[in-house]
């Protein structure tokens, strides 16, 4: 197995010859968060998920602060993984900040991708008055970073599940179905900083791959206005809204999330499979 696949704890399931669908997890958790929806894709698709360096069972020793000082470093990871698996016509599903990462990856190599699925995306979290409401002030972001620092100082246990990924307990680590959601505090903080202080609005115009925007009606992290902002600026984008609360519809509303993604992909099928044009 190429190094890159081990480094990112890449997991490949589903139909070996199927169209590839790659799931990129967001900030705050790891690839295990996809497990509520990935089974629905395994019959028809080649399903790929992975951990960013510092998250889940990735190789944390290969964390490079310079590489991950911008979202481009994460996009490069995604591209490397796609190439290591020799994928073509990829559907890239990115949650939260990974939606931006997905856009950056598609800008770098548009021909690698068939389509993007952007789950609760936001190109910029901080307000930029007048004219742009990201939902947060700079002070809010500083407050978040401060809170993360305190939570990471030692006995606060929100990162308790990290122990599940402990190399001292390989039995747990090798159990693919183990339920945990772990992220290295240093990586998490940097990821948070890069994520919440990023401004990728200018990149939207250069995205040429068709995309599905999955918006949750009541999401404080990526409010409705941000979803419509993206929809207006992304060429060939489809906006679907899930009625509900929260930032992780693939966890809170897995069935609806799955249905909307499959609908979007099936609508694209005629283009991906020329056989349909003879019908």
């Amino acid at each position: 197995m190429p190094d890159v696949l081990a480094r990112h704890a890449v997991r490949v399931t589903g139909r070996p010859g199927g169209a590839p669908i790659v799931f990129a997890h967001g900030f705050g958790c790891d690839q295990t968060l996809w497990r509520f929806i990935t089974p629905a894709f395994e019959r028809d698709y080649r399903v790929v998920s992975f951990d960013y360096i510092g998250a889940g069972r990735s190789d944390r020793t290969s964390y490079d602060p310079a590489r991950y000082a911008s979202l481009q470093g994460y996009a490069d990871d995604v591209l490397q993984i796609c190439h290591a698996l020799d994928l073509e016509g990829v559907t890239l599903v990115g949650h939260s900040v990974s939606a931006t990462v997905a856009m950056l990856a598609s800008i770098a190599e548009p021909r690698l991708f068939d389509s993007l699925v952007l789950v609760t995306p936001s190109p910029r979290y901080v307000d930029d008055p007048p004219g742009y409401i990201g939902g947060f002030s700079r002070a809010d972001i500083d407050g978040l970073l401060g809170m993360m620092d305190v939570n990471a100082t030692g006995w606060a246990a929100y990162l308790a599940p990290v122990v599940m990924g402990n190399p001292d307990r390989p039995a747990l680590a090798s159990d693919l179905e183990a339920t945990f959601c772990s992220i290295d505090p240093v990586m998490a903080r940097q990821f948070a900083k890069v994520t919440f202080l990023a401004d990728n609005r200018a990149d939207l115009a250069t995205v040429s791959v068709p995309s599905l925007i999955l918006q949750v009606s009541d999401d404080v992290v990526a409010p409705m206005a941000v979803g419509t902002y993206l929809h207006e600026r992304l060429r060939e984008s489809t906006l679907r809204v899930i009625q509900g609360t929260g930032h992780c519809p693939h966890v809170s509303h897995p069935d609806e999330t799955t249905r909307l993604i499959l609908e979007f992909l099936r609508a694209r099928d005629p283009m991906r499979h020329p056989v349909a044009t003879t019908a």
Partner: protein
């Protein structure tokens, strides 16, 4: 108690009091709406996924949006309702005061430690830089010490030889001149004159050297006729020498150059005396002056062994003497260095190489000086 959508089903009076709200107002509200904005971010990105995926979270520091916008730090424990296992969550929020302060202190201490580390890194960098400075100063010192040693060694030798001759010879002449043959007397006086001349030249070179080393080398930039200077220098060398043939060719119509005739002559004397020193008696030393590149070039060639493989640039280094040179003749290794300094101070350049014509394999030393601006143009 929260429902599956994390809306509040039931809340106790204590929580209501923390928030400055009526207990009944809380029911039906999304739990995250009780949080401060930064805490909402943390909740949605970290706590909520963990809660849904794992069914529980423990001891997460969050802040509630309290009365008057005051942020109230709490520790949050939550787990899926054990009674129904699939329906809602039980949430316990504990207000933290002392512990929050503790954690803040710990964080502050951690940051202070990090700052201190950064500070000591900076200090270490500065120390390393200072050490490098010292080393380079030490190297400078070593260089200047080396210079002084070489200087003292060379000069004492180069001075002592002529002084010894002058002293010894004049002593001899004073005691015996009445009894000496006129030819011996003549020869003795010539020796004294030669050695005194050698001393004079060395003194002139040393004077230039000390000015050049101190950065105080100043040269006049008078318009001068190179032909005159060259003729004077060659004539002087011809009188001094008795074993060499001197040829001189000065092209006609040479432009005036800017410079200091005393210094140009000094350079030429250095070149000529080197040519004499390093070529066999009876051979020819050729001096020629011609127009070149908007100036005048002067070359002195000899019929000696040439420069061999010696790197030409090294020749101009102070105190540098080739192995062959050391074997062939005495010298201080100052002349060429001084010549280069003088010519460059006059805006010219020097070079050394193999003599081109006639092809006898000797050495060629040359210098070039720029022509003076045409007075008609001013």
């Amino acid at each position: 108690m929260l429902d599956d959508e994390l809306h509040i089903v039931e809340a106790n009076a204590h929580l209501a009091e923390l928030l400055g709200l009526d207990q009944r107002e809380l029911v039906g509200r999304p739990f995250e709406s009780l949080l401060s904005v930064p805490a909402r971010l943390l909740f949605q990105t970290h706590v909520f996924p963990a809660l849904l995926a794992e069914g529980r979270v423990e001891e997460v520091l969050l802040t509630l949006a309290g009365r008057d916008g005051e942020a109230v730090p709490i520790l949050l424990n939550a787990e899926r309702n054990p009674a129904t296992s699939d329906d809602g969550f039980v949430v316990l929020a504990v207000r933290i005061r002392a512990r929050s302060r503790w954690e803040q202190d710990l964080l502050a201490a951690t940051r202070a430690l990090e700052a201190e580390r950064a500070e000591s890194r900076k200090l270490a960098d500065e120390l390393a830089r200072a050490a490098r400075d010292l080393e380079s100063r030490h190297a400078d010192d070593a260089r200047s010490r080396e210079f002084r040693d070489a200087f003292v060694g060379v000069v004492s030798h180069e001075l002592r030889t002529p002084i010894t001759t002058i002293y010894g010879m004049s002593h001899l002449l004073r005691q015996r001149h009445l009894k000496m043959q006129p030819a011996d007397l003549q020869s003795g006086l010539e020796d004294i004159e030669t050695e005194a001349d050698r001393l004079r030249r060395l003194t002139e070179d040393l004077l230039v050297l000390s000015r050049a080393e101190g950065g105080r080398l100043e040269v006049a930039d008078d318009p001068l006729i190179v032909g005159h200077v060259v003729r004077a220098a060659v004539q002087g060398e011809r009188e001094r020498s008795d074993g060499h043939v001197f040829e001189l060719s000065v092209a006609s119509g040479l432009p005036l150059v800017l410079g200091d005739s005393t210094y140009v002559e000094q350079v030429l004397r250095n070149y000529l005396s080197n040519a004499v020193k390093y070529s066999p008696a009876g051979s020819t030393v050729r001096t020629s002056a011609r127009e070149l590149d908007g100036g005048v070039s002067v070359t002195v060639t000899d019929e000696g062994a040439g420069l061999g493989d010696e790197p030409p640039d090294e020749l101009w280094t102070l105190f540098y003497r080739t192995k062959d040179a050391i074997q062939q003749a005495g010298g201080a290794g100052i002349g060429l260095f001084v010549s280069k300094a003088l010519i460059e101070a006059m805006g010219g350049r020097v070079w050394a190489g193999a003599a081109v014509e006639p092809p006898t394999g000797g050495a060629e030393f040359g210098f070039w000086l720029p022509a003076a601006p045409d007075p008609g143009e001013e």
